[in-house]
């Protein structure tokens, strides 16, 4: 089957292979578990026409294709995460053979166990904060006296505006850090992702925090209460949250 690759969705610990019969992967392909000791690689067959290096480069330019694969990847990762401790892999991870999958799993064994121990019984939650550009952190500023010449008044006005922008940016950064620190205290771990591109999301306001948090199952209510309290503590900041996700951002195994 030279034209077939193995798309590797996730590593699960103690997943019952039979439950994979009730879900499907990309292109409705059957899901399989490639096992090594207590770990299993969740995989399905994909065509190397689409998922080989050349095919991937072409397809990743296609938004509909990208979305469809991302959504399927996430569906399979969630399915496994709901049934066993699961470390999702980065999207579009493809191997040439089942043996290659098994060898990789064996090679990763120790580090995979560490990652799975870290994420067991935990899920990922996203919290994003936006500053409203119409509500500067600090109002006021000196109005130029009427006796001042026009050129001087202009320069003064420009300087005041620049100072106001700067103090707003600083206040935003401080608010973002305060929110992130507080949420991290109610989570096992927290990470700041890059702010999202407004042209992509269409969001209003300035995204000052794109945070993601690993939260104990037993502390989810506490975490969400903290998010709710932030909304009254920072009235000039809009706070959105999402989740639970499989712990994508906390399942990283760095290559040696």
């Amino acid at each position: 089957m030279a034209d077939t690759g193995y798309y590797f969705y996730a590593i699960s610990r103690g997943l019952d292979p039979d439950v994979l019969n009730t879900e499907v992967g990309i292109e409705q392909a059957a899901l399989q578990l490639v096992k090594h000791q207590d770990l299993g690689a969740v995989v399905s067959h994909v065509s190397l026409q689409d998922f080989g290096e050349e095919g991937l480069r072409r397809n990743l330019e296609d938004l509909a294709w990208l979305e469809s694969v991302a959504v399927t990847h996430d569906r399979v990762a969630r399915f496994c995460a709901e049934r066993a401790t699961t470390a999702p892999l980065r999207m579009a991870t493809v191997f040439l053979s089942e043996d290659a999958v098994r060898e990789q799993l064996a090679q990763w064994y120790d580090r995979a166990e560490e990652v799975l121990n870290r994420i067991e019984g935990r899920s990922e939650w996203s919290v994003k904060a936006y500053a409203d550009p119409a509500a500067p952190a600090e109002t006021g500023g000196d109005e130029p006296p009427e006796t001042m010449g026009e050129g001087m008044a202009y320069l003064l006005r420009r300087r005041t505006e620049a100072q106001r922008r700067e103090s707003t940016a600083q206040a935003d950064a401080e608010a973002a850090q305060a929110i992130h620190d507080l949420l991290s205290n109610h989570a096992v771990a927290g990470r700041q992702l890059r702010p999202q591109d407004r042209q992509l999301t269409g969001h209003t306001g300035e995204m000052i925090l794109n945070g993601t948090y690993l939260v104990d199952q037993g502390r989810v209510d506490e975490f969400l209460d903290t998010v709710a309290a932030l909304r009254s503590e920072h009235p000039g900041v809009r706070v959105e949250h999402g989740g639970p996700w499989p712990p994508y951002s906390f399942a990283t195994l760095e290559p040696e």
């Binding site: 690759g5 969630r78 999207m91 969001h203 951002s249």
Partner: protein, 69 residues
């Protein structure tokens, strides 16, 4: 705890809201287990991810934002 949305439906219709799609891509492209090695066909260098996201941004802009030039 509830899982948001009907994933299978969204998949069939390719109808995720832009924000939900970007949140998802932040995670499935930006994180997760990173693979290296000869047996991996392609993936998962940071550079490739950046290329993908740039391609995506250009493609969304082309659909959503009228071009001046």
């Amino acid at each position: 705890m509830t899982v948001v949305g009907n994933r299978t439906q969204a998949e069939a219709n390719r109808s995720l809201q832009p924000v939900a799609l970007v949140d998802l891509l932040d995670r499935v492209l930006g994180a997760g287990v990173v693979i290296s090695g000869d047996l991996t066909i392609s993936l998962a260098g940071v550079d490739l991810v950046q290329i993908r996201l740039h391609a995506l941004i250009s493609s969304v802009r082309a659909e959503m934002v009228p071009h001046d030039d």
